[in-house]
Symmetry: C2
Subunit: 408 residues, 2 copies
Amino acid sequence: MSHFFKVKSLDEVLSLTREFDPTHAETVDTREAFSRILAEDVAAPRDMPGFRRATMDGFAVNASATFGASESTPAWLEIQGTVLMGQVPDFELPPGKAAGISTGGMLPKGADAVVMVEHTQTIDDTSVEIYKSVAPLQHVIDASEDFASGDVVLASGTFIRPQEAGLAAGMGFTTLPVHRVPVVGIISTGDEIIPIDQDPAPGRIRDINSYTLRGFVQEAHAHVIQYGIVKDDPDQLQKVCEKALEQTDMVLISGGSSVGTRDYTVEVLSALPDTQILVHGMSVSPGKPTILAKSGTKPVWGLPGQVVSAMVVMKMVVIPFLQRIQGYRVPKPLVRVPAKLTRNVASAQGRRDFVRVMLETGETGLTAKPVLGKSGLIRTMVLADGLLDIGENLEGLEKDTVTQVILL
Amino acid sequence: MSHFFKVKSLDEVLSLTREFDPTHAETVDTREAFSRILAEDVAAPRDMPGFRRATMDGFAVNASATFGASESTPAWLEIQGTVLMGQVPDFELPPGKAAGISTGGMLPKGADAVVMVEHTQTIDDTSVEIYKSVAPLQHVIDASEDFASGDVVLASGTFIRPQEAGLAAGMGFTTLPVHRVPVVGIISTGDEIIPIDQDPAPGRIRDINSYTLRGFVQEAHAHVIQYGIVKDDPDQLQKVCEKALEQTDMVLISGGSSVGTRDYTVEVLSALPDTQILVHGMSVSPGKPTILAKSGTKPVWGLPGQVVSAMVVMKMVVIPFLQRIQGYRVPKPLVRVPAKLTRNVASAQGRRDFVRVMLETGETGLTAKPVLGKSGLIRTMVLADGLLDIGENLEGLEKDTVTQVILL
């Protein structure tokens, strides 16, 4: 096999998300819908809140009856009654009268505003003085002010945060249509890799990648099946890979993705039925030896064995792909924060470099301090708070440059 | 009861976290330790990786044998053997000799660097030409380069990301000591609130807050018990509250936290045994009517009933408290991104204002567009991507100001 890659840029690899479909829809209890992706548009079945509602404790009034009222010239209003919470008022409010009301209460017919209790003084059971004028609809939510019946309130492809679930609950949706949670298969390869509960003889190391990859997948709210460690043996890898493709929606293979004599991943994937290699090599550092194949309808990734490289590829490429499979209309943007570099950082032109940095709070905002160390050292990722993103056309970034750091 | 609060600032309320202890430690499988908080320091039980390891495919050499090598004047080395993956090499490497090695392989005794395969040409079975010099330790991870035996590699109070779990796995920890996941009780109050599976008569609305609060707690990786809806009845609220305090680590009560005639939360909490009211009123908008009590060792929150106010208080105050209870040494910082305001935003001096904004990508970075609408409208939170944070000493922010937006 060739010692050289034909590399694709990160953006070219990301654009291949369009080759893959999201998982099907299923229905879940709204209480369990957090962090899921909506699979259909949701429309308001009725006006919300559905009635004119007080947002303050005080007196419901017709606003015009308060115009001109002040501390020195209060308006004097007769009390017509008191609104009971959760009840339709059993009276109407003629102009010039007032009704006691609590936050959340339904305004009686004829009322269009609420005067806050702080701006009133009850004279006796039947009358109240108003010290401040209110405008129509002040301290009130109108019947369809939150949503009008028929409005599409949540679009298909929306990530469900607390507020989206709250809105669905408020409209009476006890269940929601969401995309099925994808299952991701994880395979580690390498004759030198041993399970973490074994004691490594010299020359062997424990399996780190299964755990870091698992973490990223769980962070992205998807499920994991681990297929353990496969030796550097194409037949064995093919068998495990076929099994993983049957049982999961996406497969990750770490190790063996490069172009060396022990790198069997491309060979094995090429031999699978109905499988195309879409990518072998990415102009990204760390992370160059990355493979993407499409097997049937499913993506299979060959990831570098180096622990840092595998994590960078997960963060920058595989998780955005997974989001597409979860049903996101647009992959969720990475969170980037500006920080000032504490030293010069060199980079190679023609590739996108991701440099691990520690973030510290300085006098004028965040500073980013590069973490030194090879991409085989997990320590460097433990120390890192984020990644500098150095573009393909740059030879580096100078000390004191303010740059966007991708949070890890 | 008084119509007026004696308010505390947001920072004063946050400083009360020190009144509460984190949950106890428990042991979990490392595969399930993501997003948990470490409860003890973890030290490296041995050097990692534990042997001198290649980070590239190529030839293990003694670096000095390559000094001066170039394309035009290659170094010629005799091949001593090939390193098998996962094995201790069964030969030593005399100076001036080379051994084939793959990424991850163990360097033979006498070797201190690796020449990448791209910079070599194998002449025959016994000799290789080297076209590029390497420095000692180049393309090599040394025996204790990741960690030395005894190093504290993860400190108590650390949030476990993929890399922390990977590191623990690499050191052979199949389980980790972490803080127990706190359980949070959620109670909604209000005569007008009905369960979401019922159809609201006029004057009634469905329970939104139980769902939004639940979402925040789940986002923070804690467990929820919902205690449903309690009418505006102090005896009933006290009973449910006592039950929740028995069964959970922290209790949230939404609604009834203000100073109106129907606001029973403070009264009920004051009547509980061994309970102190630490806060009643916060100089924050929305979110002023917030209560914090300490009942025994546990925090109980009275949150505003207004949906937006309740969410802002959750985001800014309750979740940082919950992180403390989860064992974070320092509450996780809120993620803030800079964005340019699209219009003037007014604010009241003497209180901290949180203004909902939509973020859009403009030509020169993000823009923040205020979402207009009352704090009773869940829609405004669904439209919002973040919160502007307008300090106590400001009367507002001007159009085109670049300000830090807290991501929602």
